[in-house]
Symmetry: C2
Subunit: 420 residues, 2 copies
């Protein structure tokens, strides 16, 4: 029989006892940030559970990681601590366990209705790296930016290509995104365009939080890389295509990306995702030995993007994709990242890159969906080439279990006009 | 008459009372890191000066910024606090002021011979950005990587081009650099090369530490950008040219750079550099209005690179350049970085990019000096195309005043073999 919590959870709710994603929240304005897990429509305050002495396993009973304002310390502890926390919480929340269920005083101070919680960035991100791991996305972008001859650069099938992103402008779901200003390609002999971006886009991504890091100079073996990954969030790597197209040669994207990157608040652990793992695609040519893994795993996570234009009541689905469209796995990304000796630190964020599928309805950004603005989308009758001020973009993602859902909630942001 | 300290300082010493660069050190193994300034052959412990109540100005008398293990809090206070600290220290150290000079007990605990101090990273770096602001370097790299037709991409004269670098692998001068392993370009139909980099290089750069940051969405005006810059260090942005050449299309340098970036320990403030400011080069085409500054400043800082091969007693000078070879100014870099709304935070690091001059003896990296290995350098009779294991690379930089020197000390690193 499936595990059940004493908190009622609808089969379509993203946060059953099988999930238990970690986040950081404030119960009320001005109060201190603290770790929590999502259960049904509630947030369970882990600082209260820890204070009550209920984390009684051998690793966590002496740790103050749940009194911290972020999850970095918990992430640094590694998989044994994560498994212990998950087991303790599944036991405490199960319908058959009285310790928390029948303790009215503790229940009162440790559960908060989710709609009352202010969600914060769960982790202090040291470095943020963004990969480029969907072949369909790489092919489409290459065709649009560089033409249909050899759209995928020859290195792509050998290297999980990536670039360093900007950590400071990572924001939590719900934060408004201010339309960036910048330079766009000049036409003829005139100076470059300068002003609010004319080609503002979303990018449907997911991102992994790094747990224990590695020392500078000590690469992580690809077959041990999973132990360095805590879990996943949804991520919108907002992109200004006109700024990006003009600036990116030869050093890569910079201001076209660094004005904002939105993540969903709940980190779903790899342990919770394990039942939804599936085979990664066969790689041809075969990867070099340092990237050849014994078990090559993807996850079956359904992803969806909706846009709601300003003044409209209804959102419109613009794409449906799946995490399993990725060519390079999370573990290959992490092993590649460290093969030169680069050190990862707990709380580093590794984005997957835009997750486009093969079908026209599964493309992960407007650049691809509208073919750089040439084929506008219709949102319930309104045309869209790129994002307009007031557009609200919402990502969601989930795995469907037998009678339950393991979900990521949503990753949301609204475009507001440039400030000057 | 020139200001003089009660500590004897040789006219060629980099650290007279006119300089007073800030760093972080440990007086002995295992002791707590603390801020200090360099004066002659000594480090002055600012935590002791603060404890003694000698920072008596209106901003610093109530601050605990010098009890911190890094300078981030001091940097966040901004120029008025920096000027107050400088004025207080110049007064306390001057030969005519008895407060510190005649207090034997305080002198004993607050001065440490520099060769006894363990220097640490002075700042916790949030994000590290590397620009590409020497035209000579851009032209040479473009010619080597992409051929002599239009070696400088058309955006270069409009945009201070930059990429996000890796913050985690920034290390302090003196740290060994482990030769990175990685992929290099395949030849013919064989798989890519994999192994220790065959083209390991230094890059002669300087880097600015950001003081007060800006809010996400609020760009910094180019004419106010100097107030956001605390000071400068020397920086060696070690580069594996074979890894870089194979990976950098289309998203820019990644593992070719992220295995280590060395900075010098002493941050020389813009206030100390002010007497050495000079006109920046005239920019043609004129920059867009957001980059057009009322006063466009460079600094006359002489730079030198020496290499000492393993087992050799003598170093060999391989290049002499100058900070004033930069086309884009520090303030233009900072204004450009924020024009899209990107937020900078206190302690962010902005590298200038390799500082090459126009002459063959003033090129800032081996890629240029040996023309990608085609014209080996002679180091006292030994040939060098790229760096070999055991090579020690030392940068130095200074400004020559009237009877004194304002210098940066050195930025040093030795190449050690790949670990496996």
């Amino acid at each position: 029989m499936a595990l059940k919590s004493f908190i009622e959870v609808h089969p379509d709710c993203h946060f059953p006892i099988q999930n238990l994603p970690f986040g950081v929240f404030r119960p009320e304005q001005g109060s201190a940030p603290r770790p929590g897990v999502a259960i049904g429509d509630y947030v369970l305050d882990l600082s209260e559970i820890a204070s009550a002495g209920l984390f009684d396993g051998p690793i966590l009973n002496n740790s103050d990681c749940f009194s911290e304002p972020n999850l970095n310390k918990f992430l640094a502890l590694g998989r044994p601590a994560w498994k212990e926390a998950r087991a303790t919480l599944q036991r405490l929340l199960s319908s058959t366990e009285p310790a928390l269920r029948d303790n009215g005083a503790l229940r009162k101070k440790s559960f908060l209705p989710m709609d009352k919680a202010e969600m914060l960035l769960p982790v202090a991100v040291g470095d943020y790296t963004d990969f480029f791991s969907s072949m369909h996305h790489a092919k489409n972008c290459g065709t649009i930016f560089r033409g249909p001859q050899n759209p995928i650069p020859p290195n792509w099938f050998h290297i999980p290509i990536a670039y360093h992103g900007r950590a400071s402008s990572i924001v939590i779901s719900g934060t408004d995104i201010i339309r960036p200003r910048g330079q766009g390609q000049p036409t003829g002999n005139s100076p470059p365009y300068f002003g609010p971006s004319l080609k503002l886009d979303f990018e449907l991504e997911m991102a992994a939080f790094v747990g224990p890091g590695n020392e500078l100079g000590k690469p992580v073996d690809v077959n041990e890389a999973a132990d360095h990954i805590f879990g996943l969030v949804l991520m919108n790597d907002w992109s200004a295509r006109d700024i990006q197209a003009w600036e990116y040669v030869p050093l890569g994207p910079f201001l076209g990306k660094s004005f904002g990157t939105t993540i969903s608040p709940w980190i779903v652990t790899l342990d919770a995702l394990e039942p939804f793992s599936c085979d990664a695609p066969k790689q041809d040519p075969p990867p070099l030995p340092y990237l050849a893994e014994k078990i090559s795993k993807n996850y079956d996570i359904a992803l969806e993007v909706q846009i709601k234009p300003a003044g409209h009541k209804d959102s419109c689905v613009v794409t449906r994709s799946n995490f399993n469209n990725l060519y390079w796995t999370l573990t290959q990304q992490l092993a590649h990242h460290t093969v030169n000796g680069c050190n990862l630190r707990p709380g580093d964020l590794l984005g997957t890159g835009t997750i486009s599928g093969p079908e026209p309805e599964s493309l992960g950004c407007l650049l691809e969906l509208t073919w750089n603005g040439q084929k506008p989308l219709s949102l319930n009758g309104i045309n869209r080439k790129f994002l307009e001020d007031g557009d609200e973009v919402t990502f969601s993602g989930f795995c469907k279990g037998n009678g339950y859902t393991v979900g990521f909630g949503t990753c949301r942001g609204k475009i507001v006009p440039s400030s000057s």
